[in-house]
């Protein structure tokens, strides 16, 4: 059978290593780029090098930031509430919370969750750095904003135990019915949480 030219197959293989991109999508993207004006493949190529060359993790919160500064925009901002710390799993979670415009404190990015199955323990996450940060700065509240998953909950429990002795208020994001959702279609666990956490109207 006819084989594709090596450079074409290489690009298909490289695309197919990305999450959510199967072999069909990978070849569709490749053939699109073969037809597209040259600057599209080139600018994507350069942007790919750029994220590795020009970014790094913030030395304080471990969010992604520019390589030429030690700390990120949020950590540097005098407008943020420096006594509230929100702990998230990934940099994308910071973006999601920032988009709500409902939070004005600082962040700490763990870069993962505890997962005994995958062999990820506390030493693989930015937990040591978190505890040092909590001890050396004056925080009033720590919000545990890990995902509402088994691993996320276990990580939150673990962090709660470690933070409790420090005399800082520890909270976590509310569980309940998603806004715009339909009670009828809510899964059992969500509905159970929504019942247990019911709020009194006054």
């Amino acid at each position: 059978m006819h084989r594709l030219p090596e450079p074409v197959q290489n690009l298909i293989d490289a695309f197919a290593r990305l999450p959510g991109i199967g072999p069909k999508t990978a070849s569709r993207l490749t053939f699109f780029l073969l037809r597209a004006p040259e600057d599209l493949a080139t600018s994507l190529s350069q942007a790919l090098l750029g994220i590795k060359k020009d970014t790094k993790l913030c030395e304080v919160c471990f969010n992604i930031t520019l390589k030429d500064r030690p700390t990120c925009e949020i950590c540097n901002s005098p407008l943020r509430d420096a006594q509230t710390l929100c702990i998230v799993e990934e940099p994308l979670d910071v973006l999601a919370i920032e988009k709500t415009a409902g939070y004005n404190g600082l962040y700490h990015v763990l870069h993962g969750v505890l997962s005994p199955i995958e062999g990820i323990g506390p030493e693989d996450l930015k937990i040591k750095e978190l505890l040092i940060r909590l001890e050396s700065q004056d925080f009033k509240e720590v919000i545990l904003a890990t995902n509402p998953s088994m691993e996320g909950d276990a990580t939150a429990m673990y962090l709660h135990e470690r933070i409790a002795p420090l005399n800082i208020r520890v909270t976590r994001l509310a569980r309940g019915l998603p806004v715009g959702g339909d009670l009828e279609y809510a899964d059992q666990n969500t509905l159970l949480r929504a019942l247990a956490g019911r709020e009194r109207l006054e």
Copy 2:
């Protein structure tokens, strides 16, 4: 609101210019690459440059081939039937037909279809080159394998008219029910074609 570091936003924007990749997928891919080992972003970056640097169109059939040879693997192969020519819209169509292992002739890639709405006329496709090829070589059959769409059919009709005077047998791919499909769910036009093209069992 917090803005992403420029290199990160650049990569999201570059991904989002690809077909079928919206802003959400683009940022998911970007944050995946930020966490992935460096060689993944780098190898994708190099593969992107490679398709532009190391490939070109075959000088005979206009399929994609390596830059260092004038013609492609299929055109060069002494094992292919050089008297049958299959005309397709895109290089991906060559791949699809090759995968069937049911065709052993040569190809001609038009690089598009006639589309008056988008201003694409015969001079924008590899039609002049096709006619020269048909006149200078000895073909017994030309298979019109454009897509079964309005533009694909119109292009096939146009090509048929142009090829007819050359005394070459012109055929096109059969229309009918897709294999594994369900008669009940076939659209009206497909069913009509399947009826009109019914085959006698002997």
